[in-house]
């Protein structure tokens, strides 16, 4: 930061976040929607952003940290451009979801919960995607892919740059 008293020009992200604060100002139960919006803007929740949210919503950082770590949706570290979610719900479990997990690990070289170094993929397993009729299922970003077999996984993931 420069030493003069002028304010640093705000980044695009910070300007976006400003709009979110304006939208939820004075509203009850705003914390989770604000965190969701902030994560949409930044891709994850950096510590600086959590401090900013704390100051603006007048909620202690400790409470915010508690909420962020409670819900599976929030992330404190950068995420890959493409999010791979392999379903391990009941229906997928009995139809061989675990084999799909192995195939993903083999294809992109990371385990459940990890992100590739080039930030191309993040891989996580989830409990149910609600497309049980097509088990085993995986989602890449917002696309659902059903009736998978291990050999379909690598060519499919290759399409997501």
């Amino acid at each position: 930061m420069c030493q003069c008293k002028c304010e640093e020009p705000k980044s695009n992200e910070a300007l976006e976040l400003e709009k979110v604060f304006a939208k939820y100002e004075g509203k009850k139960g705003a914390l989770i929607p604000v965190l969701q919006a902030a994560q949409d803007i930044y891709g994850y929740l950096p510590a600086e952003v959590l401090k900013e949210i704390s100051a603006r919503l007048r909620i202690p950082v400790s409470k915010i940290y508690g909420v962020v770590t409670f819900y599976a949706q929030f992330h404190l570290n950068p995420r890959g451009r493409n999010i791979i979610r392999v379903c391990l719900g009941t229906a997928c479990h009995v139809r061989g979801g675990a084999k799909i997990v192995e195939a993903v690990t083999k294809a992109v070289g990371i385990k459940d919960g990890e992100t590739t170094e080039d930030l191309r993929y993040t891989f996580e397993s989830v409990a149910c995607l609600g497309a049980c009729g097509l088990a085993p299922v995986m989602m890449v970003n917002d696309d659902t892919h059903g009736r998978l077999t291990p050999d379909k996984v690598a060519p499919l993931l290759e399409q997501y740059k």
Partner: protein, 597 residues
């Protein structure tokens, strides 16, 4: 109004979308435009038909012809044969699994014949993004009747008479719940819809929200009028983006027509509804945890009493029901409580939507009258077991439920009979398992889920489920000792009696139910160190049956550790000390010469 001679309905539910229905729809629109038929024939994107196995599904009205597994290449033929010449495209019709007979009409398919659709009445028949289509099927008439001809007290009486019980799991009588909330004093009350469908293996709420969002809004509005609420929330899982989008559209359209917002239908009754997106926590399906989450806190349950009806969201009296429950409400007011109560059994009225999944021929959603037997659901509607394997058990009620074996398949399904069998209705997930599913592994699977999702507030759930999971893991790894069974039973009973919320209290159910009906499988794992179903890797050994082996060498080539050896055209052998039990050889062998056990 523009009139059309035919309608082509393309399923836009999540199941069919992932099978490629968007491209099908575009292709039909293009083809109709190309043949100048776009003024005569209308393409409608609908919600889920429930028969996801057969997707993408296309239905042509007025005939009601049901085409399944349609591909883009089939479109030109459907348009020029069926829509121009009136000849049904035989090869795309549904084939009955046993007789191979082609079934042209929707209504004649076994999957649909035994169903009775109430909550799903509009799913797959209307365009969920047009409120007019909902209204054309008597939508919002129940609301109008309640608001203009009944007092809130009469609405509650009607609900009590209908006998509707909560469809989210507990089965508490809805009318009674509304009465409690209405009797709580105070000017500010909330109506809440629990759409945090998290049970693995259940997706009926998703289908209702995606296929018929207005039925949920209408049900909530009738509830709000009955208890005196002027504001409400719909708490939806963030994993359901399409459901959230359709709800937003539905709310905007209902507000525009004066069916939602201030002074609804000119009656002076006002109610606003908001959508809250969940953030990924299974325990938020528990009502007190859900309300904590709406308030912006960690979604942890609170002890009851006070019940939400007395002190709920922001400490105000609140009523919370699940999606399927609300979707049933408009029907009760449209056709009367008696009509509704004439369906089902003595203590469980109406219908229930089940999600049929697992090793079944026909997977998908089926809505049936209460009191039907599990055998009818699995074998008549579900079409029996895949690959003609033997039925072993059906898991009902998700992680809170239990497994039911063959001998109890003829029990009529209702809330009370399932509890007597050690399972529960839960949200209605039915996962069918065959002889290749290991019941110890299934119990471990569910416990692993509840253990991960335990919020950690109360000790019995946080510590108890962890200990139970460790014991199950030990048994699956072949290190179980005979005392483990009694320890599991004791721990299970303690957790059931002492956990704070429904998640913890029901977490031991999958273990206790499998111990009740499949104790011999636990004993085989512990005493004989064998997994009878051939699932638990640590307890398996791979062997080559010499008389089936042709010596082709395919297995030896695929084996990653070089454990298979043998001369060409001579039976091969597996060195069990090297074998890592990956199963690649079994997949490669064309002669069924490799067995595990």
């Amino acid at each position: 109004m523009q009139l059309y001679r035919a309608h082509v309905l393309v399923c836009g539910g999540t199941g069919c979308v992932s099978s490629g229905s968007k491209k099908i729809q575009e292709a039909i629109v293009d083809e109709l435009a190309k043949q100048n038929l776009d003024k005569e024939i209308k393409v409608v994107e609908t919600g889920c038909h429930g028969f996801c196995e057969m997707g993408p599904i296309v239905i042509v009205y007025p005939e009601g012809t049901f085409y399944c597994q349609v591909q883009v290449d089939d479109i030109a033929e459907i348009v020029s044969e069926h829509l121009v010449k009136g000849r049904i495209v035989q090869r795309l019709l549904f084939k009955a699994p046993l007789t191979e007979e082609q079934v042209p009409s929707y209504k004649d398919i076994a999957f649909y014949r035994k169903q009775h659709r109430v909550a799903l009445r509009n799913c797959g028949h209307i365009d969920p993004e047009h409120i007019q289509e909902y209204i054309a099927r008597d939508g919002y008439e129940g609301l109008a009747k309640a608001l203009t001809t009944m007092t809130p007290q009469q609405v509650i009486e009607e609900m009590k008479k209908s006998g509707l019980r909560g469809r989210g799991g507990g089965g508490f009588p809805t009318g009674l719940k509304w009465e409690f909330a209405s009797k709580s004093p105070g000017p500010k009350k909330y109506i809440i819809c629990n759409a945090d469908e998290g049970d693995p293996g259940a997706f009926m709420d998703r289908s209702v929200l995606e296929g018929d969002p207005h039925s949920v809004l209408e049900g909530m509005l009738i509830g709000a009028y009955a208890i005196g609420a002027d504001e409400g929330y719909i708490y939806v899982r963030a994993e359901y983006p399409l459901a959230i989008k359709r709800l937003k559209v539905a709310i905007a359209q209902a507000e525009e027509l004066g069916l939602l917002g201030d002074n609804i239908l000119g009656t002076g009754f006002s109610c606003r509804l908001h959508i809250k997106e969940g953030a990924g926590a299974f325990v938020c399906g528990e009502e007190t945890a859900l309300m904590a989450s709406i308030e912006g806190s960690r979604g942890m349950p609170n002890p009851r009493p006070p019940f939400p009806a007395v002190k709920g969201l922001w400490e105000k009296p609140s009523n919370i029901n699940n999606v399927e429950t609300y979707a049933n409400v408009p029907v009760i007011f449209l056709h009367g409580a008696e009509k509704f109560a004439s369906m089902g059994t003595e203590n469980s009225k109406g219908t229930k939507v089940f999600a049929l999944t697992g090793k079944l021929r026909n997977t998908g959603l089926a809505e049936v009258p209460m009191g039907i037997s599990l055998r009818e659901i699995i074998f008549d509607i579900g079409g029996g077991i895949m690959e003609d394997k033997k039925f072993k058990a059906v898991q009902i009620g998700g992680p809170s439920g239990g497994c039911i074996p063959e001998e109890h398949l003829d029990t009529p399904v209702d809330y009370d009979s399932l509890i007597a069998l050690g399972a529960m209705m839960g949200s209605g997930g039915l996962v069918v398992m065959d002889e290749t599913s290991c019941m110890v592994d299934v119990a471990r699977f569910f416990l692993n889920f509840t253990q991960k999702e335990s919020c950690g507030k109360c000790t019995p759930c946080r510590e108890g489920t962890k200990r139970m999971l460790e014991i199950l893991q030990k048994i699956c790894d072949g290190n179980g000792v005979p005392e483990d069974i009694t320890t599991l039973e004791t721990l299970g009973a303690v957790i059931k009696n002492t956990a704070l919320c429904g998640l913890g209290q029901t977490a031991p159910n999958p273990v206790l139910a499998t111990l009740r009906y499949f104790r011999h499988e636990y004993e085989a794992h512990i005493n004989d160190k064998k997994c009878p179903a051939g699932v638990c890797t640590a307890l398996l050994e791979y062997k080559i049956v010499a008389e089936n082996c042709k010596g082709c060498g395919a297995c030896a080539r695929v084996c990653p550790v070089g454990a298979i050896t043998g001369e060409k055209k001579e039976p091969h052998e597996i060195d069990t000390s090297k074998c890592i039990k990956c199963g690649s050889c079994i997949e490669k062998c064309k002669f069924n010469a490799i067995v595990k056990g």
